[in-house]
Symmetry: C2
């Protein structure tokens, strides 16, 4: 382990904002992934000047710096595989400006997504790229991963919402990227490159974000299906027909069972369900989209179709999806829910096949996998439910993950829709991007010649995610 | 001048696709900007393999390569300031795939925008980021400049529509960037970086583009105003109020006069007019947006307000705007219309001030300037109408351009909305991006270490656009 000058860090951020006792290091050693590795120290800056000073010191002494938001990442993005400094950005949580006339806001990276939306609500607007983890996810983390969430089908992902940013570069210099206007064609748009770069190119210290009006009308519906294929085909037809949902979610039988078990919602335990929503300022337009989706569901043998404009009823219908992630760990008391092959994007026409492939692969390897996701955006999620004590289950998971991603690549899908790459998905990412890895690495080297920002991630991560780090589980046999 | 091995180029693309006689070189030495500089040779490749071979040769012999589409760029983007090879991409004009189920198409870079939309029309869809020059502009050129056009206010710019691409790198290698899915979070999204890079980072040989449904209903309206300020304030209120136009155009008195003179449209010669459009699948929703815009226009003293759903009537109302660019050269027979300070984006709340600033600056310097643009996107255009024979008019133009961009930067605007930087806007671009120029240059160097792709543009361009190249005009005194 490299020596670190804690007194230097203390002089920058104050004693109370430097943590190095083992309990703290342990907590900051993992996120919501399966991975774990200890940092050397944790610092909690409060200003961009402090971030600059810390980065300058780290760059001079060649110490890794990993910026971290809510820790809700699922692929090990903020696990410090090479040790170094975890820079916890959550103190930098100020909303700097809500500019209604010019339709943007400026925020610090530690602002929690839900807090931003709470602040925007009185103005009648919202920030759409909100992941399921919005209670803890920070804007900085969402930028790192190009987060999107249930409404990306209509409103796009984080990259679409980021107009500009201030970034501390690995040299410690502050760069202003992008603009405050809706369109920009002034040269290389590095702010768009920063989005999704997982903290490897710069540390975002301020972001300028677009927001949109909260629609007057929202209508949410559900449909049950006897086969996962029928539900997947309904998704494909909805999207190919030019329908414009503001949400289009698929959940499978495993997900439905898990939710019932945790929350006693009494959902019908069918093979699959779709949750669809439309929104707008004019009810006739929302009706039009909802009717179209209901008809397509019917055509694909959808059952028990219902929909509602009522907020309470909508919340009830959506409750299961909202709580799905925590619920999955309750599916079987002996099985943990692991974020593996957790996320991918596939062409709409392959949605049904992808869901089927996930279930077939699970069966083949004697594990349980669930297929769900923001299918209207082409986004499919899975979790692997397994006995994490058993080494053979990890081996099965490794094979299943590899097979699923091989399939995803074969149908022109991509390794991550919105959860990012980190460590867990590096193998497939490197396969998928094999003819551009060299320029990805060249860009990284151009901006971060000493490789201090979140090293060992993305194209630098090892192929074998099982042994890439310690696992966040004790494996017995 | 560096020697070029024409026989090498002839062996790659065939004799008929290499041009070096003076007339050809002269034609390929300018675009729609004020600039002019002769290339050494013009090649017209037909396949990505040919592009690769040409680039490999150029990289080895350190010869500049400038890829060129329709030549409709307004800032000198494809003017070969350091000589070299002009690579005319227009032979690579195949539409490779229209994939309706998965909602994307794949095209070669030489496809003309209007041709793509003609091919998409039978499927009921369109490609929205269409500039006014869509009859000649190619998809490759639009990618180079992040083109957008009248409907960007609702549908976004080229960058929003590009899902992925194949690019020939300066080394001659072919890289596949991006994906075929609506969302992607798989690492650095270099396809988004390529958009707007003006051919300096790679040569696009294939693009995967999103399209959207042609709306059932389109309603277009106009309103006249007695002052430019009233019109600008109406734009600001329309956009700040969450209204969703599919088009929101401003034209000033100079533009209206020019159009009347050229086309005898008999438009009322007021200080300013707004052209607004809404579209959608449901008439009630379109009515809602149109009514809202009409009411806001009224509130800001808009006059002669009318609107129509009828295609013929809509075309008539829009005709003046459509033909504005060529019309401007007819405003006064002794004055040429030059693309200078041609394009900028400003925050909505500064739209009225920016238009006023343009007119004041023109008056101060004894030239004529027009203010118009896709104001719903924050995009403002101007042209400078001047006697290009007179050196003192160029001096006035130089001062006017500098003053206008200084103002744009002071109000948090950006140097280009959609026309790009090239040579003409380099001075302001470098001022605006001064704290990121170093990393822009680092990225350029990482991808193009020999600086062969379109050298001398963007951050490499000289500050003084008047003397940066020969002018496309003979200047007498």
């Amino acid at each position: 382990m490299k020596r670190i000058d804690e007194s230097k860090l203390r002089s920058i951020v104050g004693d109370e904002n430097v943590k190095s006792d083992p309990a703290d290091l342990y907590i900051y050693g993992s996120d919501s992934s399966v991975h774990s590795a200890l940092p050397w120290v944790v610092v909690r800056p409060d200003t961009s000047e402090q971030v600059q000073e810390i980065v300058r010191y780290a760059n001079r002494d060649l110490i890794p710096v990993i910026s971290r938001g809510g820790g809700s990442g699922m692929c090990g993005q903020v696990v410090p595989v090479q040790g170094g400094i975890i820079m916890d950005m959550k103190r930098m949580n100020r909303i700097l400006e809500i500019n209604m006339p010019d339709v943007y806001c400026r925020v610090e990276p530690g602002v929690v997504d839900d807090d931003l939306n709470l602040a925007l609500k009185p103005y009648g607007v919202f920030y759409p790229p909100t992941p399921a983890s919005s209670r803890i996810a920070t804007i900085g983390g969402e930028i790192g991963n190009n987060a999107s969430g249930v409404r990306s089908v209509k409103y796009g992902a984080t990259r679409d919402a980021v107009l500009g940013m201030k970034v501390v570069l690995p040299t410690g210099e502050l760069a202003t990227l992008g603009a405050h206007t809706k369109v920009e064609a002034s040269g290389y748009q590095l702010q768009k490159l920063m989005v999704g770069s997982e903290g490897t190119l710069g540390i975002v210290v301020e972001a300028t974000l677009k927001f949109v009006p909260i629609p007057e009308f929202r209508c949410l519906g559900v449909a049950n299906f006897d086969t996962l294929r029928d539900a997947g085909e309904a998704v494909a037809e909805i999207m190919a027909s030019g329908t414009e949902p503001s949400m289009l979610e698929l959940v499978d039988s495993v997900a439905i069972k898990a939710v019932n078990k945790t929350m006693n919602l009494g959902l019908k335990e069918v093979a699959a369900a779709l949750i669809f929503e439309a929104d707008g300022k004019v009810k006739e337009a929302v009706d039009y989209e909802i009717n179209k989706m209901q008809n397509i569901c019917k055509k694909h043998k959808g059952m028990d179709i219902k929909s509602s404009y009522d907020p309470t009823e909508r919340a009830k219908l959506f409750m299961g999806r909202k709580k799905l992630f925590p619920a999955l760990s309750k599916y079987d008391d002996n099985l943990a829910s692991t974020s593996l092959a957790d996320d991918m994007a596939v062409p709409y026409s392959k949605m049904a096949d992808t869901a089927a492939k996930i279930h077939e692969t699970a069966e083949k390897h004697n594990i349980i996998m669930t297929a769900y996701g923001h299918c209207g955006s082409g986004c499919m999620h899975t979790k692997i439910l397994m006995d994490t004590n058993r080494r053979d289950q990890w081996e099965s998971a490794r094979k299943a993950v590899a097979e699923i991603y091989e399939y995803v690549r074969s149908i022109k899908g991509t390794t991550s829709a919105e959860h990012g790459i980190g460590l867990s998905k590096a193998e497939s990412f490197k396969q998928e991007k094999k003819d551009s890895l060299q320029i990805l690495q060249a860009v990284k080297k151009a901006l971060d010649p000493n490789n201090i920002l979140n090293p060992g991630k993305l194209m630098q991560a090892p192929d074998d995610w099982v042994t890439a780090t310690d696992l966040r589980y004790s494996v017995n046999s």
